[in-house]
């Protein structure tokens, strides 16, 4: 296995069994995280991010498939590599009744790290002043910082943060981003999961997008966005008539509030020309850069709408042919009524 891969999973599959029945969480996931830099692990809620991270850390066992961390097979050889991996899964969870310092001391002792390291990481995360206070009295941001301090006890080569900004205020979010950037600049690999794309777009060097437990796209941020067509936002007096006209000309149009969104890298001049022919006057014409957000929405929506997709050869799964409820909308802005512009499902490199 190549040494420049921090995380690798192949055909990873996990089904939760509980009293309520079986829940397929990860379905044949192939994930590759290169060493170095920040890697965004993106997907809507319930798409299997946390499940994947737990499997990588040996907290839960996969049904099938293989995983490795820095080339060490996991979970079999996890003890050899765990010292190089720091992780915060979901929310920071430490002993609530103990002080920040005591929490760190216990963890340092458990892995045989020197006590002096505790002071160093407290200092590094700016918690020295509050180190003597009970962990449960910390704000979420401080808990997050303490949990990061805990992972730094190991001087890890890989840091895994699972939705680290959930519930933080803007200042906290900014701080976490800066921390991730700093850690990556120190030469560590940071794997950060999120369901909010904008958050990761700014800091990630590479991304993987998953939906319903499967990989949908991956690569550098530029790759994943670059494949996508930009759009043009059109402000026009009679949007319905305008939409019909543009549609007739073969453009992909969908309403965007009071505006229209013309997708597919249209030339602005062509739009004005087409509309002018109909006697429709454009009062606004803005090119929209395809953000990760729209790519993400498109990918995951396509996936939700997706026809039966025999993606998991290992799983005929007669008992539950439709194991997933439709994924909840991934972002607050609801897509407009579908006027025939059903987004086509695209994967990496699928530009037309």
């Amino acid at each position: 296995m190549p040494a420049d891969v921090a995380v690798e999973t192949r055909a990873l599959r996990k089904t939760y069994s509980s009293l309520k029945g079986r829940q397929v969480a990860v379905v044949g996931l192939d994930l590759d995280v290169p060493t170095g830099g920040v890697h965004g692990f993106l997907g809507p809620n319930g798409s299997g991010k946390t499940t994947t991270i737990r499997m990588l850390l040996g907290l839960i066992r996969p049904d099938s498939g293989s995983m490795s961390l820095f080339g060490h097979e996991v979970p079999k050889r996890l003890p050899e590599v765990i010292g190089r991996v720091g992780a915060i899964v979901e929310s920071p969870k430490l002993f609530p009744a103990f002080s920040g310092r005591r929490n760190l001391v216990l963890l340092a002792d458990a892995i045989g790290a020197p006590r002096s390291r505790v002071d160093e990481v407290l200092d590094e995360t700016g918690l020295t002043d509050r180190a003597g206070d009970r962990y449960s009295s910390y704000s979420l941001g401080m808990k997050q910082r303490l949990a990061i301090a805990a992972t730094l006890l190991k001087s890890p080569d890989l840091l895994i943060f699972d939705e680290p900004t959930n519930g933080l205020d803007p200042a906290g979010i900014h701080e976490i981003r800066r921390t991730m950037r700093r850690l990556a600049d120190e030469g560590r690999t940071v794997l950060v999961s999120s369901h909010i794309l904008a958050e990761v777009e700014q800091v990630a060097d590479t991304v993987s997008i998953i939906g319903r437990g499967r990989l949908l796209a991956s690569g550098t941020v530029a790759d994943v966005i670059g494949d996508r067509t930009a759009a043009v936002r059109v402000g026009v007096a009679e949007p319905e008539r305008a939409a019909a006209a543009l549609h007739a000309a073969g453009l992909q149009v969908r309403p965007d509030g009071a505006h229209l969104l013309v997708e597919g890298e249209p030339a602005a001049a062509r739009i004005t020309y087409l509309l002018a022919q109909q006697g429709l006057w454009v009062h606004e014409l803005t090119p929209v850069r395809a953000g990760l957000e729209s790519v993400f929405l498109e990918l995951t929506r396509a996936d939700t709408l997706g026809a039966p997709d025999g993606a998991s050869p290992s799983a005929p799964d007669g008992a539950s042919p439709q194991p997933h409820a439709p994924a909840p909308p991934a972002a607050p802005s609801p897509p407009g009524p579908d006027d025939g512009t059903t987004p086509s499902r695209r994967t990496r490199g699928g530009a037309r």
Partner: protein, 328 residues
């Protein structure tokens, strides 16, 4: 070994341990007060009343004693004829005795071991609660998940957690036993009944205390294992209470033959260096069914081996479950 040390330090820092220690001290104080009040010398009023009662009984005996004796012997003879057994109605012990009215106050040395043994149930419950909460709380706060991202070897983690609960039980139980013994001695001494402490009494006391200590360590391990297995303090304590009510009382009442295998019998055998239990055995004869209580002995060896075996099974089960469990 390193992990065990860390876990012990963690448990010692928990407020639960402090709470258990305080509850234990409160219980010891109550027990001591009870002992003190029951060993108090009789007041003059009580002495006078006892004297009067004794004199009244003596007078009655002098008046009607012969008749009562005759009645008794007659009834005894009738019973002998009926059953053919050599029954004894104790007719020759009917004459009132002074000590019946002036109760003997037991001395410290005579009762200390028994009081320790009786109080041991309380100590064991405390240790069980400490052990259960040590692991269950860690699981429900999610701190265990974080811990496992530092030490992923499940069985090592489990072993250190179970063992630490046993280790921490030692100072807790030892401290409370010493406190209880001191309290008992003071209660007796204040009432002028600190005697009875010959070498054998001390041996008895020390042996009982050491056996309780060992059982305390075992209870810590059992509590921690139950906490891991059931994941919630309430669930584990509910199981213990349910077990005590259903199995140890109701089922045991229905099937007396189970008694040697009950936890309470085994615990009693362990703490008291052997114990007894009773069954009723009935025989059907021509005259009908006659039943009598039969005393059985349960040895220290029996009790301790049985408890150890149960603990081993519980620990192995916990290991099998925890090794494969999804920690979420």
């Amino acid at each position: 070994m390193r992990l065990l040390g860390v876990e012990v330090r963690r448990l010692l820092a928990r407020r639960m341990l402090l709470a258990a220690a305080l509850a234990g001290v409160a219980a010891v104080v109550l027990i001591t007060l009870g002992i003190w009040s029951s060993t108090r010398p009789l007041t003059q009023t009580q002495l006078d009343a006892a004297e009067r009662a004794y004199q009244a009984e003596v007078e009655r005996w002098e008046a009607d004693g012969d008749e009562m004796l005759a009645d008794c012997e007659e009834a005894e003879a009738a019973e002998r004829d009926l059953t053919g057994d050599d029954v004894d109605f104790g007719c020759d012990q009917m004459e009132p005795q002074r000590q019946w009215f002036f109760p003997e106050r037991p001395a410290f040395g005579d009762v200390a071991a028994d009081v320790l043994a009786t109080s041991s149930v309380l100590l064991l419950v405390l240790v069980l609660v400490v052990g259960v909460s040590a692991t269950a709380a860690e699981i429900s706060t999610g701190a265990l998940g974080t811990w496992l991202t530092f030490v992923p070897q499940r069985l090592r983690v489990l072993a250190s957690k179970l063992a630490s609960a046993g280790v921490v039980a030692l100072p807790l139980v030892a401290g409370l036993l010493v406190l209880l013994l001191a309290g008992l001695w003071v209660a007796h001494a204040v009432n002028g009944a600190a005697g009875g402490t010959d070498a054998e009494a001390w041996r008895d006391i020390a042996g009982t205390a050491l056996r309780i200590l060992a059982l305390g360590a075992l209870a810590g391990v059992v509590g921690a294992a139950l906490g891991v297995l059931l994941r919630h303090t309430a669930a584990a304590l509910g199981l213990l209470v349910g077990w005590a009510l259903v199995v140890e009382s109701i089922v045991a009442g229905l099937v007396p033959a189970l008694q040697p295998w009950l936890l309470r019998t085994s615990v009693a055998a362990w703490v008291q260096d052997g114990t007894t239990y009773w069954t009723t055995e009935c025989t059907v004869t021509a005259d009908g069914t006659s039943c009598q209580g039969v005393e059985h002995h349960v040895s220290l060896t029996h009790g301790s081996l049985w408890l150890l075996a149960l603990t081993v099974v519980l620990v192995l089960l916990t290991g099998a479950v925890f090794r494969r469990r999804d920690v979420v």
